[in-house]
């Protein structure tokens, strides 16, 4: 059975999992997502939870519901997700990085230098 963490309700964890899979290209834009029944049986969770997760994604414009056909990844979903990630990075991770730099007395130039080394390595 899937391991869920305790910090968040399952339906949020599931919708985050699906979003990151859309971003990775596992579920391409315009293509169908697995049916509610399949997800419920695979993950051993109830269908209401799956429906709630899909609904979150519909509300965010990442997924569209096609009557009688099921759930499809919306065209433009990847761009939306990248934008959201960007905002999240600037709003949440950058302040954390700034905090850490202050804590360990590292100046920005040194940080940029380290970052360059890191990115070249990849």
């Amino acid at each position: 059975m899937t391991d869920w963490n305790d910090n968040q309700p399952i339906f949020r964890q599931l919708s985050e999992q699906i979003s990151s899979q859309i971003l990775q290209g596992i579920w391409p834009e315009g293509e169908a997502l697995p049916s509610i029944r399949t997800v419920a049986a695979d993950l051993k969770i109830n269908h209401l939870t799956v429906m709630k997760s899909y609904q979150l994604l519909v509300d965010d414009g990442l997924v569209e519901k096609r009557r009688g056909q099921g759930m499809f990844v919306a065209v433009g979903a990847v761009a939306l997700l990248k934008q959201a990630k960007r905002t999240q990075f600037i709003d949440q991770q950058v302040p954390q990085i700034a905090d850490t730099l202050r804590h360990i007395n590292m100046d920005v130039d040194e940080f940029v230098k380290q970052l360059r080394i890191q990115m070249k390595g990849e």
Partner: protein, 284 residues
């Protein structure tokens, strides 16, 4: 949604004690009810009443039928897997299927064979020679092949290994979502069924101590992990339970006071197991 099962003020008194007292609940198509309680809390007494296996006071309707007065008709759409094997040991698998198609009006033998083909269960094996896991698998295969609307499971995975559990729940859920059905699962494995159920009914000494949808439980309760310095403030709000950690404690509270506490520590969603334990003993 269609109401498939309703129980109103169901009471079962034995000569020397009360089995269950004034239980009322409803089950609609699409609902999966988790029935929880200590040994002797009344789970089996309730199940036996729903099955019409003994007399009770109050009203029960399963798919419109009274469990005792309309027993034959009710059993067309009600199935039950108990924690002990009830399939006749002396029959072979093939004989069991033939027998069931003779006595059950909606039994589809082709469907049962199709389900069994995907397993290691062979038609000519005697039931007594099947493993515990195979017996449960066979029982579920028989039920899946009927037009059951309400399925009651009593400790269905007791004694099953992980692989059988996984297959069991997969078959169960796939079948469940194919139609307008309702499920009742009585279990001690709270964590195992937590994400599977849509509603929960918790019994204590024959009485209902909690009856809620999982969705409202998520809204009505929360856990806060806060430093012990906040103890006095938090305990003034009457937490349902607490669990000590290293310099901090996890308190389980009702959501009414959430705004007062939110800033004191980390907030977590409540786990059914914690809520279950809290209903059974309370804080001390």
């Amino acid at each position: 949604m269609t109401t498939l099962l309703s129980a109103q003020n169901v009471t079962k008194a034995y000569s020397d004690k009360i089995g269950i007292q004034n239980l009322s609940f409803e089950l609609k198509a699409g609902q999966v009810l988790g029935l929880l309680g200590h040994n002797g809390a009344g789970k089996s007494t309730l199940i036996q009443s729903l099955l019409g296996a003994h007399h009770f006071q109050g009203e029960i309707r399963v798919n419109g039928c009274h469990p005792i007065h309309d027993h034959t008709e009710m059993m067309n759409h009600l199935s039950y897997i108990s924690d002990v094997n009830v399939l006749p040991d002396w029959m072979t698998v093939k004989q069991l299927l033939k027998y069931t198609s003779g006595v059950h009006p909606s039994f589809n033998i082709a469907k049962a064979n199709q389900t069994l083909e995907a397993t290691d269960i062979k038609p000519n094996t005697k039931i007594k020679h099947l493993s515990k896991g195979m017996k449960v698998q066979l029982h579920l295969a028989v039920i899946i092949a009927t037009d059951t609307k309400v399925l009651i499971l009593d400790e269905p995975t007791l004694g099953l290994d992980l692989i059988y559990r996984e297959t069991f729940y997969r078959h169960l859920l796939e079948w469940f979502h194919d139609g307008e059905r309702a499920l009742i699962i009585a279990s001690h494995e709270v964590a195992e069924i937590e994400h599977l159920i849509t509603d929960v009914l918790i019994l204590k000494q024959g009485q209902c101590v909690l009856s809620e949808s999982m969705e409202s439980i998520e809204e009505d309760y929360f856990v806060v992990d806060a430093p012990n310095t906040h103890q006095a403030q938090i305990e003034a709000l009457q937490p349902l339970s607490k669990q000590a950690g290293l310099g901090s404690t996890k308190w389980l509270l009702k959501s009414d006071n959430r705004s007062q506490i939110e800033s004191m520590g980390t907030i977590y969603p409540v786990k059914l197991a914690d809520l279950f334990l809290a209903t059974q003993m309370g804080i001390n």
